[in-house]
Each structure stands twice: as C-alpha cells, then as structure tokens.
Symmetry: D2
C-alpha cells in the first residue's frame, strides 16, 4: 500500500486530524469524490487540492473544457476546507474528534465565481485562503489553476461557522 | 420507447430546436448528465429543469443533503440554458442549426449563489430567468427548489453571448 | 411642518418603531442622507425607498447617468433595512427601543450587484426582500427601478444578524 | 499651485493620459468627488487610490464607521479605473485622446463586495487589479485597506469593455 501523502511533515496539524479530515473531505462527502478532489496541503488559514480531468467533468463537449459547475463546486468545497483548517488551527488544544465535531455546523452562505479562462488540460489545482474567521462567519478567497499554473477561475465565499 | 416530453405543445420553439437543445444540454454536456438535469420547460426568457437525488450528489454525508456544488453547478447550467432559449427566441427566423451554432460562443462570466436552506428530499427543480439579453452580455437570475417547492437556493449569473 | 408619511396606516409596525427606524435610516446613517434615501414602505420581510437624481450622484458625466456606486450603496442599505424590518416583525412583542437595540449588531457580510441598464431620469425606487432570516444570518434580494419602473439593477446580500 | 502628483516618474503612461484620466476620475465623475477618491498610482493592470474619512461618509453613526456603500462604490470605481489603465496600456500607440474615447463604452456588469472588518480611522486606500482583459469583458479584483493597512473589504467585478 502506498504511503499516505496527506500529512506533510511541516504541517501544523497532527496526523490523526489530517487523515480524518482527508477521509471526510475526499470520501465521505460523496460529490467531492465525483469531482475527484484530493487534498494537497492544509495550513492554518489555507488549503489546496488537485483534481484530474475526466470525461464526465467536461462541459463544452466540442472543446473538451471543464464544466463551469466543476469549478464552482470545487471552489465552494475548497473554501469550506480552508475554513475547516482554520477552525482546526484555532482549536489545536482540542482532540481531533472534538475539532471534527465542530464542522457539523459549517455551511456555505454564498459564493461568487469568476470564470477567467477555459479549463483545458489533464489536471487542475485549487486553493483557498481564509481572509477572516469570525465567531459566526468566515470569508474566503479561492483560485483555480490549470496544469500550467494559469489562473482559470477565482472566487469568494462566506461560510457560517457555528 | 417512451415519447419525448421535451417539446411542450405551447412552446414558442419548433420541435427540432427543442429536441436538439435538450440533447445537447442533457447528454452532450457530460457533467449535466452527472447532475442528472432534465429540461422541463423552455420559454423566450426562461427555462426550468429537474433532477433526482442520488447518493453521489450528497454533500453532508450525515445529513443526506445535496452538495452545495450540485446546486451551484445546476444554477450555472440553468442560467446558460435560459440564455440559450433567449437567443433562440430572438432568432426564430433562423434554422435550428444556425441557432444552435450561436451557442458555441456562450460562456459564464461569473456567478453568485446564495444557499438559503439545506437541500433534502427525493427531487429538485431549478429555474432561470433572463433579466437582460444584450448583444454581448446576458444577465440571469436562478432559483432552486425542493420537492415541496421551498426555495433552497438562488443565484445570479452574467454570460458572454457573442 | 408637513405630516410624516412614514407610518402607512396598514403597516404591521407601531408608529414609534416606524418613525425611529426612519429617523435612523434617513438621517443618522449619514451616507444614506448623501444618497437621499427616503423610506416608502416597510413590511414584515420587505422595504422600499426612493431617491431623487442630483448632480453629485452622477457617474458618467457625459451621459447624466446615476453612478453605479449610488446603486450599490442604495441596494446594500435597502437589504439592511429589510432585515431590520424582519427583525422588528419577529419581535413585535418588544418595545420599539428594544427592537432598535437589536440593529446594533447588524452588518453586511457581502453583496452582489448586477447592473442591467443605465440609470437615467429624475427619480428612482429601490426595494428589498428578505429571503431568509436565520438566527445568525439573513439573505436578501434587492431591485432598483427608474421612474418608468424599469429594472435598472438587482442585487443580493447576506447580513449578520446577531 | 502645488505640483500634480499624479504622474509617478516610473509610470508606463505619458503625462497627458495620466492627467486627463485623473481629471475624469476624480472630478468629472461627480460621485467619485463625493467619495473623495484620489488616484495614487496607475499601472498596466492595476490602480490605487486613497480617500479621507469625512462625516458624511459614515454609516453606523454610533461607531463612526465608514458606510458599506462608500466601500462598494469605491471598489466599483477602482475596478473600472484599473480596466481603464489596462485599456490604456494595451493601446499605448494611440493618442491620449483616442484612448480616453475608448472609456465611453466601459460599464460595470456586476460586482461582489465582501465586508471583512469595520472601516474606522482617518483614511483609507483602495486597490484594483485586472485579472483578465478580454476584447469584450474584463475581470478585476479589488481590496480596501484602512490606515494601518488592514484589509477591510475585498471585491470582484466584471466590466464590459467595448
């Protein structure tokens, strides 16, 4: 079995928290599996993930472009993931279990997506940054890149935290 | 084979246009098939579609809720569909083929989604209305309802038209 | 002194609440005075106001159009006003003073404005509707009309409530 | 008369273009004068401006905070200014007059503003960056800072270019 590459050595998070968050994000949130999201990094106020192009993710069939909905769904999920990381980082003294329980109340309030360029190519990377984590609401900024690191799309989200 | 229910008798559109638009939207745009979108109605400035809940569309696994990304992707697709209908209605004198060719240039500029209530239940309906169709940009408003006709989410989109 | 026209006879709100809310919205929120906002109606989940065109509100000097920022500022203010009305309506059993105290915590989380048509003419009307008032967050939809009742702009906002 | 400080020595733009753009932005767009916007810098894909706190720009009268509408109006204006700079930079071979003529068609399609922190203090700075300048549509990202350089608000805009 290949080693997990989900807990970077320099992560601020413990392995249990990281692995369980990855398990939840990549597998238990079913639609994230449809998107094929794989977490690449987690920080105190940011997260990144990658996804591979697959035929069912295509929008414009003649152009082999990623469907805009794949991008908006990914950026929504990434904003939420960055907020989870920020909540986890704020409560490092708590057990992994207690921190994961906190995510039950998390929900997207609203989302904006700007589509800048068509999404072509074999793989994509999405990042999210928490601009502000309040006691009730968190605000995030997200970006979506292609395999050449071109900015394909960006977004902003507001999330209810508790 | 069951009859197509895609060309309502009172539609302003001819059967060829309606059927080819449905074929494109429901099958050729691959990710719309993942979402399971089925067109219900097409008007000169509006469109509606339905989708069934399926396990892979779930977001919050403990709550059996629709993933927010399914909603944003659906509303993005619906805004685009309403714009296609509006373009089709503006060029009723053209052949179905010529009108469908016009959609090649269509693209989402940006999108806003407001999540109002959790999306539970067996089926959902999404509607979109064109607020303005300009020569270059179209603006739309979208709504997402559950099986009890509760407003789950709403959105706004801007689309490049030509 | 002309009679106050701020407490429509069929309003669900008492005169004291209505007058103090108008006083606050129209005069104590200084920038609303710059915009020239005057409340027209207040309901349990909606509000409307009007404003007059004035030279300093102009954006495109050659076209005598309303500045887009006047529209965005007005729609932000209107969404907030509708939320205030909704909070007031939810707590009708409280004194006007107690209800007004609740507005101290109100703040805009984020805002989207769609500009559909240029804003010309002598006067404008803006409306807002609360789509959902939760215990922490409220979501609103806003519209901006010219004197011929044409939809000039529309928007959506999320507000922190407590 | 004090020297114009509007044409930074290292600007890519000629003095005539810079001065006329400043004149238009700061004085001929009347509502920008109400806001008190003063251009600080112009680059090929970015712009910044400052504004001073004044009593009429206050929103929450008890807290002496900047009105959210001042922020949204400023960020809308700044996104537009950055697009003007980007158009100017793309057509450096044209006369200042010809480049300024191009701005007649510029208009905001839509706008999103995220309010992160209350706007207090004596002065503010706003920046905008063009993420993409297409032949029809430009997309921008904007930020609003207080005098301590804290991020108060951020936004995104789409603009029609021609």
């Amino acid at each position: 079995m290949p080693p997990m590459n989900h807990a970077p050595v320099n992560s601020i998070f413990d392995t249990e928290f990281t692995e369980r968050l990855c398990e939840m994000f990549e597998r238990q949130i079913c639609f994230n599996q449809v998107l094929g999201l794989q977490i690449e990094s987690l920080a105190a106020d940011a997260a990144s993930a990658c996804l591979q192009m697959r035929p069912e993710l295509i929008g414009h069939f003649t152009h082999q472009r990623l469907h805009g909905g794949v991008i908006s769904a990914t950026l929504d999920a990434m904003g939420g993931l960055a907020v989870m990381a920020a909540i986890g980082a704020r409560h490092l003294d708590e057990s992994a279990e207690a921190r994961l329980q906190r995510f039950g109340k998390l929900g997207t309030i609203d989302l904006r997506i700007d589509y800048l360029r068509p999404g072509n190519g074999p793989a994509f990377r999405a990042t999210a940054q928490v601009l502000r984590l309040g006691s009730r609401v968190a605000s995030t900024r997200m970006e979506f890149f292609d395999a050449q690191d071109r900015l394909i799309s960006c977004g902003a989200g507001a999330y209810i935290v508790s």
